[in-house]
Subunit: 151 residues, 2 copies
DNA sequence: TATTGTTATACTCTATAACTATA
DNA sequence: TATAGTTATAGAGTATAACAATA
């Protein structure tokens, strides 16, 4: 509940800050993932942004329509497509970073450096635990064993 | 980014765990907010779940269609509606708690008690900072003043 | 056979604006 | 005048399933 509230607050405020630029917070995340790299396949983007493949594609189509990214044939794998920011996308991204900077600043100021590190560390471990979690609806006899704990 | 990943992981896994019961994670949150109270107005629910009023209404309509909640005239304010869980909603909520318990357990086990407390504390302060943040696009001369500190 | 991506489809969540009815 | 909620509308994100092309 607390995690949810923090994320929603950040997400909505980011959307509000970026709205004038015609880009959503999720699209901003996606574009940022492309910034460091020359080009990525959609498959790689799915991994990095932890999105669903079809969701990602829908977002790419929207960004492509705005001329912010482009998808070209992959040089070595003819199944894949090479996704990259256009020059317009790159300059838009710079603008988005400038616009969202004050909000990021406010978030950074809310915690000490030490607390921020601990927060990030805790969140990462939480994420790992969730990813490793598998529903015990169909138990793996071997690992769960004969304990008295009910699911 | 880290906050986003943690939230999305939790949200998706919760959805997966609850899918068989035909209820989404967001609906689960909403129903939980109703559990402690006999009844709440939609306005109060908006505050507690930090949802948009129209978003909330859409969710209530879905839950009402499933017979999990009901909306009755408010006794003292004839504009308002009194939202409450039905008995079916109440028993469904119990089932949802049971189903999601292992996931919550995994999340709790990922951190020490001390770390959990610190995490919650940090997230709350972050949320407060975001809520208090106002875009500096149109500065309020009075409060911003001539300091060198930005936002 | 497995992988990359597309097409088709549907539903939930989100949000804005204009509105009704009460307070 | 302000508040509680509705109606109408739209779009973004999410996800499943069936499919084509390629590895």
């Amino acid at each position: 509940m607390t995690l949810r509230k923090a994320y929603l607050a950040m997400h909505r405020r980011t959307n509000a800050v970026l709205a004038a630029a015609g880009v959503t917070a999720d699209q901003f995340v996606l574009m940022s993932a492309l910034y460091d790299e020359d080009a990525l396949t959609q498959r790689e983007l799915v991994k990095r942004t932890s999105s669903d493949a079809n969701t990602l594609r829908a977002m790419l189509v929207l960004l492509e329509r705005q001329g912010l990214i482009e998808r070209q044939p992959h040089p070595s794998d003819r199944r894949a497509r090479s996704v990259a920011l256009t020059s317009k996308g790159r300059s838009t991204l710079h603008k988005l970073w400038r616009r969202s900077e004050p909000l990021r600043g406010a978030m950074i100021d809310a915690l000490t450096l030490d607390e921020s590190m601990q927060l990030l560390n805790a969140l990462r471990r939480l994420t790992t635990a969730i990813h490793e979690f598998r529903s015990p609806s169909r138990r793996q006899r071997q690992s769960v064993g004969a304990d008295n704990q009910t699911s």
